[in-house]
């Protein structure tokens, strides 16, 4: 991938930005240009998420494409942000056997992958557990 393809989305990936419709208040992720509820009446603006949320679902990836192969096994989590929308990224600072649905997490800024030895290094948000208190709790949610 050429550098512009990474750069184009860098701001959204570095700061975890989504879209908000000023007409109806709906918040969307991934960023989008159309509010399906309001269509032409909608007015989309960029919005920044707090980065806090809960694990909605997760998987541990064992078979990955080339770019991610050296990170396997890694946790991929679908996180429901406190603002409502869901986002997907890796869950780090956590062992595969520790992850649970409902676990509280927060976004952190990390390296996503290196394209190859000389290629560009991609950065963006991943998630990490907020604290250790969930370890003692039963799985909730």
């Amino acid at each position: 991938m050429a550098p512009p393809a990474h750069w184009r989305r860098a701001k959204e990936r570095y700061r975890l930005l989504g879209s908000k419709c000023e007409n109806c208040g709906s918040i969307y992720f991934p960023p989008t240009k159309v509010c399906p509820k309001c269509r032409r009446k909608g007015k989309m603006v960029q919005t920044e998420f707090s980065g806090r949320g809960k694990v909605f679902s997760y998987t541990i990836i064992h078979a990955a494409p080339k770019t991610f192969e050296k990170y396997t096994p890694y946790i991929l989590a679908l996180v429901e942000l406190e603002e409502g929308p869901k986002v997907l990224s890796q869950l780090v600072d956590c062992r595969p056997e520790e992850v649970k649905i409902g676990m509280e997490v927060e976004a952190c800024f990390r390296k996503l992958f290196e394209q190859d030895d000389e290629g560009i290094i991609s950065y963006g948000f991943k998630f990490r557990p907020i604290d250790d208190s969930w370890r003692n709790k039963q799985s909730q949610n």
């Binding site: 992720f29 991934p30 541990i60 078979a63 890694y74 869901k86 649905i101």
Partner: protein, 402 residues
């Protein structure tokens, strides 16, 4: 020579014509070192044309489903390629793409062409040559079915996306990995009786549970394999179908629906709304009830997908699909025979061909021509369900015996 034209109803509107399948064929699925994409398309095409007893020059229009000739074999322009290799030039021929639903979409397009009265004899093909690249490259090509910027870019894989659905489903409805394994065991059992299947070995629940993990909770036996294969069917207006075959199969309806590309914005990740919407409309147009369906071919790219499919198609309540597998009801002879050819899991998943291959299996079932042991007794109505990506595209087609 055209024998029929566009039908104009009394109200002056174009009237939909009844459409029939006059022949249907597939190649074997699996790793086929000796066959390239052209050979596969040719093989399915020749089989189907011979079966219909038509000559290539009767075919007026060709639609081919193919997901990623470019990434799997470095070949695009598949519409022209297949027309050329089947000796059909200069008819219009195009390739359609909707990830793993490419074949289903091709069928939907071919159906529209005949139903609208614009063409009489239409060939619908699907082809994918997947095993010329390494496993990781195939995984990369398949991950193009997701939202590249917000799913694949963050390390999501195709099995990974379905694993997220499976994990959530387990959490909400109490499904266990053992029940998922039973889906694979059933599909391998059906596949063992299908001479064209990718896998013909039977497996046990223990084998499935002990296989290596691909994307937890999905192990190797929860996944469809990477297959080479092709399929082709020929459509004609029902009124002239009897000229070509004694057993035309009627297309009662063929409906496609779309949903958000990524899993992130789905209303519910345990439901494929595209399937729900396509199925509702397909049953309405066909004037049929779920209880009248004798056999179904659903998109089991992963074991969880088969369970979601039978629920979203409306055959069983959400959250209860897996219970049918506990009771063995989805085997041939059961209440709802599912994937009598082995499904994507055992019969194989040459992605662009799959939607057409499902139709070929239903034609076989409705004609009573399936191999012993996997033929559903006196099957009259069949349903095919083909999905692209994690559910951004779904095609539902209902067929009945003529």
């Amino acid at each position: 020579m055209r024998e029929t034209g566009v039908c104009i109803g009394v109200d002056g509107m174009i009237k939909k014509r009844d459409v029939a399948i006059i022949s249907a064929a597939t190649t074997r699925c699996g790793e086929q070192w000796d066959k390239g994409i052209k050979d596969l398309a040719w093989e399915a095409g020749v089989k189907a044309v011979e079966e219909a007893g038509i000559s290539g020059k009767d075919i007026e229009y060709l639609v081919v489903g193919n997901m990623s000739g470019g990434m799997f074999v470095g070949q695009e322009h598949i519409g022209a390629l297949v027309a050329d290799f089947l000796g059909l030039n200069p008819i219009p021929s195009l390739r359609v793409e909707g990830a793993c639903a490419s074949g289903g979409i091709a069928f939907f397009q071919g159906y529209l062409a005949v139903a609208s009265g614009l063409y009489d004899i239409v060939a619908v093909g699907g082809v994918e040559k997947m095993t010329d690249v390494e496993q990781e490259q195939a995984t990369t090509a398949l991950s193009g079915a997701m939202d590249f910027e917000w799913e694949a870019y963050f390390g999501a894989t195709f099995p990974g996306i379905y694993a997220l659905m499976a994990r959530r489903y387990m959490h909400e409805y109490g499904l266990k990995r053992e029940s998922l394994a039973k889906v694979a065991v059933k599909n391998h059992y059906h596949g063992s009786m299908n001479p064209l299947a990718h896998f013909r070995n039977r497996i046990t629940v223990e084998e499935a549970l002990n296989a290596p993990m691909v994307a937890d909770p999905l192990g190797k036996y929860d996944c469809c394999p990477i297959s080479d294969g092709a399929a082709l069917v020929i459509l004609a207006p029902l009124e002239i179908a009897k000229k070509y075959t004694d057993t035309p199969i009627i297309v009662k309806s063929s409906v496609m629906a779309s949903d958000t590309l990524s899993l992130l914005r789905r209303r519910d990740i345990c439901t494929l709304d595209a399937t729900v919407n396509a199925a509702e409309k397909a049953f309405k147009l066909a004037h049929l009830e779920r209880s009248q369906v004798d056999v179904i071919e659903v998109h089991d790219c992963f074991t969880i997908a088969e369970i979601l499919a039978i629920e979203d198609l409306g055959f069983v309540k959400k959250g209860e699909g897996w219970k049918l597998y506990e009771e063995g009801e989805t085997y041939v002879g059961g209440r709802l025979p599912v994937n009598t050819d082995g499904g994507l899991k055992a019969s194989g998943h040459p992605v662009g061909a799959t939607g057409v291959k499902q139709i070929v299996e239903l034609v076989k079932q409705l004609r009573g021509e399936a191999e012993k042991g996997r033929q559903v007794d006196n099957a009259e109505v069949g349903l095919a369900h083909n999905v692209g990506g994690s559910g951004a595209t779904a095609v539902v087609t209902i067929l009945s015996r003529g």
